[in-house]
Assembly symmetry: D2
Homo-oligomer: 338 residues x 4
């Protein structure tokens, strides 16, 4: 950590600051410039709070050199984490995993029908929302437990593991018993109560990036889950909020190599939420594969125009099947399989 | 609601779409342009989901005319909501309310000391964090119940009502019994589980704007709380995330008249989180008062450089007192009192 | 165009507004709702200024249905524009074009050396900066005419057409005579004086997207060039500015299909400026190809660590050659050639 | 400047890097940490290019300590710059200056009429656009020289100095002869050709902040003008672009104290462009004054609903007069005069 002091700081103030760091077993190097005094801290700085240091009136600037995360950090864990979901392996050089299904679970029959269709097209897992975070309190809030059980039945018939969002720690047991991958939605990425709760689960967690979270904050949320005891975190990018109006969110494929370089966790991409427009899903999905992602999560619905939510960004099963064919070719071109 | 269809839409598709709206008791007006067909919907459109309509392949665009909120909407509730907290009234043309205190509660003695200092300076309520949302799992997470009880004791001595953040519905009873204003933090603005929970409380809720929430989404979160039974919502702006690096967040005072025009709820401003820099708090606080806010919430600490969190954005008590003197003059200039 | 009026508007005000549109040969449809009156305008609305309409106190909202651009609009020009640069064709289903070279031209010898290296690797054109837009007035501002002539000599030897940035209409003749593709940089995307000037050139224009321009504003800048007489515009995306700090800019591959759907112009991608980090160029370049771009523009330098500008985002020639090999495979997977 | 190297950097690589800085007369301090090597550079680092240093494969991070601007820097020029415009003084503790007038100049009679009205209300200068930067090539582009001459006549009659935007260096002589304050618009904030040109003028320059410029980039653009010979720069904030849709731009009053702390230049605020909505101009203008600005620039039009541009954000003269009355009270409350 690098701390810049005003050149006008009295020597006793500098000494006090230096001692306060030495008292925490850090080594401090000093450089005196014409306009600034610079302190270089060596040792474990994850214990320090940048903003407390900034509170000192002589401090001009604080710059962290080492990343604030440890368990997720590739530097201390060089090999890829590979996550096993009922025998399906995600991450490293494993096959690219395809999760597909409706935005909202809408009852048993439609769920079975979509599950069969996405399986036939080549999907590896079934996604679907039983508890739905909706901007409006007047919008459909999900079927809840009934929706979870519809997915369980779809798994019984098709063998597809199920991925669904947890919104409330009160449902933890229900998810531990019934769900294969527990999703934390973008709106709850910094709901630390929920992160600590899923840290105690024995199921992999799919952690969506928050709407305006930096990559570093997103990794810190993975660190929360890992520090609470659950090492099986799958990062899921769904785009960030910008001023652009022609898309729902803005998805930069650079996050894929960044997550791979800085952490050892798998990363999957959600082109449905990123674009908000079914016409844009295919090119964005192919881009994500070319950039090296470990999986895709895509909304598929038989009749998007009558879906109970998010029809605008759902593919019909035949378009999903055609996307997979193209995805397979791109995956092969970059040395991966689907 | 205005729906634009492609001009190439077959007449049967147009009929189907029109009928689907008429079936929901909406009246539909049609205009045929050279390149587009435009449908104007009249009636209660809050029941409709924009994105489901967009899923229809003939739909080019959906534009909402009426706001999606009802209970918070000034159009249906023209008079100001004034919220009473132990006799202190917030909103309308009432006195501007000052909430002040440390970022984190750090034990009984420091809490009493700050409470006395901010009261002496002119504060109306004591703020402080007992449960702390921290980006890092390794950072101090708050004293929890002990911190709440420290605040309760400070209220007993000073009479200042207390404001503190709720992060977990499991603490609902603790807050109902001990706390005067329940804060929902920026990171939980779209934690709908928690919003519904505080909707069942009998205490006012201070709802912070999410880091990248639009004003409309923020009002919709207030609507969640109100629709769950609690009409006493205080809006609190703390800046939004932008690309600018010289401040922690970007706070636009225009939100103050916007909230006043579109809703009937009080709005207070948090210049500490907005700027992240104690040197900027005073000018931003004065700006907020000039723009018409109903209150301020400010971090104050005796020794910011040794605060357990967020020292960089805390004022010392004497600087807070001097801010109040200036704030009083500005308030008077715009016809308000402090 | 859809105009929403307050329901409280007096009938004479509504009549005046309607007449003002009818006087411009527009047909106006009216719908009376419970809370709003909605006007639907049919006819050529590109002549109208949204913000003037909004000035009327009875107008609540103005929503454009038809795009504000005509010449660039795919709706009125369904076939792809293919741009010919000395026999190299860009756009439609043509081969993907590779432009490569140094950020700044640094003298004849280095220019010849890079030109030979990128040609050997498979590049189609030579890029390089002779006039440089630099954030600091103290930074190297480019070799100017000398740099242009270095590029001309490199073209003579290698046959590679040259692409370079124009910053000043005073250099128009120099560019008309010597340059093959004239680049308008991101910072000048809304320098309308310059856009009109290159509209009078007989050379293709590579138009970079502004740092925070919406896609619509970017297309409007292309429309400026086209309306001034030059139909040969190549769109070039280089990412937009967001709050994210791990990359220089944020590049969403969805812009590629969006530009293809809404306009008939070719689109190329600049992964060097988008990422600002040579380690991220390859995955982002492959993503862009998978998403359907018509070309790439990449910074290549023999010794990035001693480049006069932007070394951090320059590839060495061997890494560029290896990128092309992979790019070829991805292009083939999506039915294109390089 | 602080440079972080990977701990795995070979000693010869470290030596080479250190020598390259010492060769530029910089002193280099080294700290060896567990995971990183940190170099602290002392001396004049404004000559260095961060991104070239980053190109070295052993460099992990580069952090500037000293600001990259000198002439604008308060550290080297502690006293306030006060700019004299025909006897009106802007900056420091001088009276707050009010610039007002139409978005576009629309002919002699309307210009005279507005000039009289804003003078009567208390304005100090007349603003108006003769050369207009418009997003659409089909929109009104300004009256040009005729518009300038209309303003000149308004000045002759009323004595109000005139402020208008320069878009093309070709008009430099016209502006030198006729205009009192030369405005550089937000879209041209990084048009370095134009910045250097106005650096040679003998008239004060009003420099608008770019739509997505950081405060540092904005100051660097002032530095361009100053380094080219013109020390008389007035900073003008008009909001930045964010995701928020209820306002045209997002204006943070914190920029006022930031510009005052970091530079010695005057700063004025444009609440018309910031909000895009006449109903929001007054509260934002009052906020700016409370935060310490040196002036306001506001669009005023007799008949906003028939203005040739930007009517939505123009005040009528009587509303402008009423704003000034309130502004005077707020100015007095913070120890300034209007």
């Amino acid at each position: 950590m690098i701390i810049t002091l005003k050149r006008t700081a009295p020597e006793t103030a500098v000494e006090n600051i230096v001692h306060s760091f030495e008292a925490r077993n850090l080594t401090v190097h000093r450089s005196y410039g014409e306009n600034y005094i610079v302190l270089g801290l060596v040792g474990d700085t994850t214990q320090l709070d940048d903003r407390s240091i900034l509170a000192n009136e002589w401090v001009e600037n604080v710059q962290r050199v080492a990343a604030p995360y440890k368990l997720a950090n590739r530097m201390f864990h060089p090999e890829d984490t590979i996550i096993d979901v009922n025998g399906i392996r995600i991450g490293g050089h494993e096959k690219i995993v395809l999760m597909a299904g409706p935005c909202s679970i809408e009852g048993l029959e439609p769920t079975l029908e979509i599950a069969r269709a996405v399986k036939a097209a080549g999907a590896d897992m079934l996604r679907g929302g039983a508890y739905k975070p909706r901007t409006s309190p007047y919008a459909f809030q999900g079927l809840g437990t009934e929706g979870i059980m519809d997915m369980v039945k779809a798994r019984e018939e098709t063998g597809l593991p199920i991925v669904t969002e947890l919104m409330d720690a009160a449902q933890l047991d229900e998810f531990e018993q019934n769900v294969d991958v527990v999703q934390i939605g973008a709106r709850n990425m910094q709901n630390y109560t929920l992160l600590k709760a899923v840290g105690r689960l024995h199921k992999p967690v799919l952690l969506k990036r928050g709407m305006s979270a930096t990559i570093e904050e997103w990794i810190m949320s993975a660190e929360y889950i890992m520090a609470s005891g659950n090492p099986n975190v799958i990062m899921c990018e769904r785009g960030i909020r910008t001023f652009e109006k022609y898309t729902r969110n803005t998805l930069d494929p650079a996050v894929i190599p960044i997550i791979k370089q800085r952490t050892h966790l798998p990363i999957i991409i959600d082109p449905s939420h990123a674009t908000g427009d079914w016409k844009l899903i295919e090119p964005v999905a192919l881009a994500a594969i070319a950039a090296g992602c470990d999986g895709l999560i895509i909304e598929v619905h038989q009749h998007p125009e009558s879906a109970w939510s998010d029809g605008a960004q759902s593919l019909k099963p035949d378009r999903f099947a055609s996307l997979i064919t193209k995805a397979r070719a791109v995956a092969e071109a970059v040395g991966r399989e689907i």
